[in-house]
């Protein structure tokens, strides 16, 4: 029936119970969050699934120090989209990214923790969250904060980590983020995605993150492109140069969705569009060429 190698499904009610189960299970236990990836990539050997839905990980709130929005790892993508706290973040960029991730049916089931843990290389979520500097909380007996990059893919075998919350930094003044996704159809996974996050100081770029994903490798930053825009006002020439640098310094390959060469075009276009949009958000300089143009 269904997944033949699943031998048990257990539902712990505390974090410590969950941790004990995964540790005692050795390699034969796996997290079950929304469940999408478990069904699409079913276990090949006898496995116990640890159902996380009874853990107190579903809420969305402002973090204790007021610096971030704290999202429980088991919150569904739909719930996150509908949350008033998320709607306004980064001028709606997070909500609009989520709206293009996958169909509403999948968004109702998929959890943020599961999405990050499944480590799909085309992940739109990972791309934008990396750009805005999201952190996670990991529970291993005690809670600690870690970078997004420290989250291990659940199927890597080294999967005993329990991500409990995702922290989205609340944008400070003079910061903006933008995200672009290129896909063959409305809800296809990205042929390529990219995101940027800009923070200004005295009208110039003080901090920046530029991220390319679905290359087809997982999203990662392009430090050389980031460096290139520091200290600038994101003028046309700088943006073009940064786009070219991103292409030059990102490894792009072919798969069923796109060739490497075409990905290069998409990356250049995407980085440019992201930076232009970020600049518009920040009301930097001349905005006359910013019309994105909805056909």
């Amino acid at each position: 029936m269904g997944l033949p190698h699943v031998t048990a499904v257990v539902r712990p009610s505390t974090l410590d119970e969950a941790l004990a189960l995964i540790r005692n299970g050795g390699g034969a236990a796996r997290w079950l969050a929304g469940g999408i990836d478990v069904v699409r990539r079913p276990p090949a050997a006898e496995t116990t699934l640890i159902d996380l839905s009874a853990l107190p990980l579903g809420d969305i709130s402002v973090s204790r120090d007021g610096d971030a929005v704290s999202i429980g790892a088991m919150a569904s993508l739909t719930e996150i989209q509908e949350s008033p706290l998320i709607r306004e973040l980064y001028a709606g960029e997070i909500v609009s990214m989520l709206g293009a991730v996958a169909s509403p049916l999948l968004r109702n089931l998929a959890t943020l923790g599961g999405s990050i843990g499944s480590a799909h290389p085309w992940s739109d979520i990972h791309c934008l969250l990396l750009a805005i500097g999201a952190h996670v909380e990991i529970y291993d007996g005690a809670t600690r904060t870690a970078d997004l990059g420290e989250v291990l893919p659940v199927h890597s075998g080294e999967n005993q980590q329990l991500v409990t919350r995702i922290l989205l930094p609340l944008p400070k003044e003079h910061t903006a983020a933008a995200f672009e996704k290129f896909a063959r159809s409305k809800f296809d996974v990205a042929m390529l995605n990219c995101a940027c996050w800009i923070s200004l100081s005295s009208g110039k770029v003080a901090k920046a993150r530029i991220v390319a994903g679905g290359t087809p490798a997982r999203a990662s930053r392009v430090p050389t492109a980031e460096k290139q825009i520091l200290g600038t006002t994101l003028d046309e020439a700088t943006i073009s140069a940064a786009a070219e640098t991103a292409v030059r310094d990102t490894e792009l390959r072919e798969d069923v969705r796109a060739s490497a060469e075409y990905r290069a075009t998409l990356l250049a276009t995407g980085v440019r569009r992201c930076l232009v949009r970020a600049r518009a958000s920040l009301a930097l300089g001349d905005t006359s060429d910013l019309e994105k143009g909805r056909p």
Partner: protein, 158 residues
């Protein structure tokens, strides 16, 4: 293992294999309106309402749904009278082969409960997880628009 599901308002206590999906369980229990189109959550034909939200039942492990409320198309019409969404689909000619229809109706019911006055673009996005090869979606969008109006205006909101 045993799971307890409330299917269309009635409690079902059943034996399930740990790896069994909700789709398999529902069809096994006689809810044949829930269709298999791909088994991997790509076509949406298996969608049911799980605690009120439309989800691909082929992606839900039955064990994970323990204690949940499930609604299938069998539980939608009230005796002889159709739900406004069903009525609109019928009136607008939005059903051709009917294979994607049960899931489409349930997805619509979930959608309209949260967005009772949608634009056409919002309607299209809402049913984008329900693939149809027969209709071109045209009359389905029309039916959903009509159902939304009926549900906003009529006294018998289901």
């Amino acid at each position: 293992m045993k799971v307890n599901l409330i299917i269309n308002g009635a409690s079902h206590l059943t034996d399930v294999a740990p790896g069994e999906t909700l789709l398999e369980l529902l069809r096994r229990e006689g809810y044949k309106s829930v269709k298999k189109g791909c088994g991997t959550g790509d076509c949406g034909a298996c969608a049911v309402l799980l605690n009120g939200r439309a989800v691909n039942s082929c992606l839900v492990l039955a064990a994970k749904a323990d204690g949940a409320e499930v609604k299938t198309l069998e539980g939608i019409s009230d005796g002889d009278s159709l739900h406004p969404v069903q009525q609109a689909f019928l009136d607008c000619g939005a059903v051709q082969c009917g294979y994607c229809t049960p899931a489409m109706v349930l997805t619509t019911i979930d959608f309209l409960s949260r967005n009772p006055d949608p634009t056409d673009n919002e309607i299209r996005a809402a049913i984008s997880g329900n693939l149809c090869r027969c209709t071109g979606y045209e009359k389905q969008v029309e039916a959903i628009r009509q159902a939304a109006a009926a549900m906003r205006g009529g006294p018998n909101v289901a």
